[in-house]
């Protein structure tokens, strides 16, 4: 099942890092999508003290954070994991949040015509676990990060 975490504020890179590390540490989490407005391209003239854009580390893997996180969609294998997600959110999001479960899916699970055109229908087919993981208009590799749990300590 999918849930949507909706923080009452747009969260910073530091909080995103903490939240993602917390969520990814749960066994019942299959996939996570972060969603929000894009951060502006790196401006070399801007003083570092104002900068938001930075690389975050999730489970030891460096990930370039390209957006300001406004929503987090999480694919869970069991409903009981929501309580654990709530516990993490209480700790990391002191300004408040909602966990929405009303939709049957927040991460798209069926293939679309665009998927077929982009990734092919047979040989180069898109694996099921990657459906809905990225923006239709962008390259998959640009927006998707794998965490290999065999290597995570």
């Amino acid at each position: 099942m999918d849930i949507e975490i909706f923080p009452y504020r747009i969260i910073s890179a530091d909080t995103t890092e903490k939240l993602l590390n917390g969520i990814e540490s749960l066994d019942d989490v299959r996939r996570t999508v972060i969603h929000g407005p894009r951060l502006p391209p790196d401006d070399p003239d801007l003083d570092p003290k104002y900068k938001d854009k930075r690389e975050i580390t999730v489970k030891g893997k460096p990930i370039e954070l390209k957006i300001r996180v406004g929503r987090i969609f999480v694919d869970l294998t069991s409903e009981s994991a929501i309580k654990e997600v709530e516990k993490i959110c209480d700790e990391v999001l002191p300004f408040g949040y909602d966990i929405n479960t009303s939709r049957s899916e927040y991460i798209r699970k069926h293939k679309t015509v665009s998927d077929a055109i982009k990734y092919g229908v047979e040989d180069n087919n898109l694996p099921d676990e990657l459906i809905g993981m990225t923006d239709q208009t962008r390259q998959l590799a640009e927006n998707l990060d794998y965490i290999d749990y065999d290597e995570v300590e």
Binding site: P7, R9, I10, S12, P40, K49, Y50, G70
Partner: protein, 249 residues
């Protein structure tokens, strides 16, 4: 006695506080005259005011009783251009909001033209008067560095969720939080042209203070429906306006 706003809640009292020109606004921060000129971006600091007509004293004006009664403001006397400052107020407990601004501007300042839009309020006045009133607007309770944006253009953001540090969304990123000092600094002027040096706007007001001085009714603050007097007056206006509009003979 003038009645500025109905109601008994704290929000309605705050609305009266802004709209009543006899009530003095609390000064919360200090911004120099030169910084105000830089934020406005209409002229370089130290530059002469450009004029659109000769000073009124040198002009041959037609005989007119109104011209004799009304004392011109300084900018009009000197023939300055009409310039503007525009604010966007977040709906998350910003101190002021567009309609309150309009009422207050009309009551407090002479020789101005102001326009209300959904998320922003522009005020137009002769340049040297604009600088004086901008200083007042920026230094007093009208302004909070995080929840109020000085935005000549690209004003979008008043209804969006705030950033984690409390700053309102701004597409052009004019007001930014300095992580080292905790102060909000203006790195671009009001229309988004980068400034040579950032201007310190001071520390954002804390949540309690904002809830104390806000003029916005919200269910998680003071709800409008709980302010019986204000609702009654609104209802009365609505009914009389509808009946008057139907023009019953």
């Amino acid at each position: 006695m003038a009645q500025y706003y109905p109601g008994t809640s704290k929000v309605s009292k705050n609305r009266i506080h802004f709209a009543d020109p006899d009530q003095e606004l609390e000064k919360l921060r200090e911004i120099s005259d030169e910084d105000i000129v830089k934020i406005l971006g209409h002229r370089a600091p130290g530059e002469e005011y450009k004029s659109v007509h000769p000073p009124l004293d040198e002009m041959d004006e037609p005989e007119d009783i109104v011209r004799e009664i009304v004392t011109p403001i300084d900018g009009a006397k000197a023939g300055d251009r009409v310039r503007y400052i525009q604010f966007a107020d977040s709906m998350y407990f910003a101190p002021a909001q567009p309609y309150v601004r309009a009422r207050s501007y009309m009551n407090r300042y002479r020789g101005i033209d102001t326009g209300t839009l959904s998320g922003r309020q522009v005020i137009e006045v002769r340049e040297r008067d604009l600088e004086k009133l901008s200083k007042e607007l920026l230094e007093t309770e009208f302004f909070d560095p995080a929840r109020t944006g000085i935005r000549g253009k690209s004003v979008h953001g008043h209804s969006l969720r705030l950033d984690e540090d409390g700053i309102m969304f701004d597409m052009l990123r004019r007001q930014l939080m300095n992580k080292e000092t905790g102060h909000v600094e203006m790195v671009k002027d009001q229309i988004g042209i980068p400034l040579d040096e950032p201007i310190d706007l001071g520390e954002p007001l804390d949540e309690e203070k904002l809830k104390d001085i806000t003029t916005i009714y919200r269910v998680d603050g003071d709800a409008y429906k709980d302010d019986k007097d204000a609702v009654e007056v609104l209802h009365k206006i609505h009914v009389t306006r509808s009946q008057g509009g139907y023009c019953p003979e």
